[in-house]
Point group: C2
DNA sequence: CTAGTTTGCCTATAAGCTTTAGGCAAAAGC
DNA sequence: GCTTTTGCCTAAAGCTTATAGGCAAACTAG
């Protein structure tokens, strides 16, 4: 019989695609095996277990998202950078809802410290340099940006803005604009 | 044999408690049956299925949280009301992480329309009356508040603020303060 | 190029969760 | 007290995770 050519990397990528299609919490070792037309047990040579698969997908998504954000940020500053950062985040979540959900998986501290999550934090700080905030305000601001972006995207994906006007797009612009003026104000104090 | 006295209400409450103990996504019909020392099949006379259980817990949590927010808001206005609203939200999530997660379950439109989710939206709008925003800004602001509160709480629960200074408490105060001044500024325009 | 080793996917199996069908006894109604 | 209703039961099937052990394909050496 011909071998399927399974590797942790291919399984992770396929898992990410599966997550986007059916939702991250519907990603199972069984479903992944079906997708490769292979018996379930075969995957356990490449993955420790189901949790391992999910962690790999999460790390993959964190990397991919960090790359996108980095691209978006390149050569921009101030409000322009803020909007690019925000959009990169939101667009990724809308294009890849399953991967986005994966990126929110709680990782154990060591795994998190070695993940692209670190880059995310660094980029947020780089972005905020344009607003010249003293500590601890900068940290507060990093947390606020993370909260707003994650919160908005998560409510939007959950369909929270679907059944009312104005559209999610307009509110997003308003929110980004508000954050910009907020940060500029905080600088001035 | 003595009957256990199962009802949908008791099962929902026990399910909420279970969610707080082990996490909302670990709530299973099996675990609930164990908790009542009853066979699994017995629960299916009271619950349509596993999804039904989760929906009931979600609706319960939405009600409970709405009650708390209403209490917190009573007799307050302006920044005082904003802080009370924010704290009610965050405190509930920290006391009842499982119920909080349940409250974020995606409901089908009809169920959502009949849920306490409606009250949440109304209270947010009531809160914002103190800032005197014209439409569509008020809607944008409702969405922003929801995003920030949900985002912050969700990141905090996920342990995102655990391994760095300053504490989550201080950033929360900063965020609430920022939102207040942001909203006051928006009014002035 | 063939013999030995490693590797990859297999079958078999067990245990847990969901859900349905049908049974029997406790509680409620008359 | 007798009947009806209700509540929890056993049984069973299908799906998931996970482990153990087998056989053949692919690599590695001589």
């Amino acid at each position: 019989m011909v071998r399927a050519g399974l590797t942790p990397e291919r399984l992770t990528l396929a898992g990410a695609e599966l997550a986007d299609e059916v939702g991250f919490d519907q990603v199972t070792v069984s479903a992944l095996a079906r997708r490769f037309d292979v018996k379930v047990a075969s995957l356990y040579s490449h993955l420790k277990n189901s949790q391992d698969l999910k962690t790999r997908i999460a790390l993959f998504a964190l990397e991919e998202l960090a790359d996108r954000v980095a691209d978006a940020l390149a050569g921009r500053a101030g409000k322009d950078a803020l909007a690019a950062f925000a959009d990169a985040y939101r667009d990724y979540a809308r294009e890849h809802p399953g991967r986005y959900a994966a990126a929110r998986l709680r990782l154990d501290p060591e795994t998190a410290a070695a993940s692209a999550g670190v880059r995310h934090a660094q980029m947020a700080r780089a972005l905020l340099r344009g607003y010249d905030l003293p500590e601890p305000d900068q940290t507060h601001a990093v947390r606020m940006l993370g909260s707003v972006f994650h919160g908005y995207v998560s409510l939007e994906l959950a369909g929270g803005f679907e059944h009312s006007a104005p559209g999610a797009e307009e509110s997003w612009a308003w929110v980004v604009d508000s954050l910009d003026s907020l940060l500029r104000n905080r600088t001035a104090r």
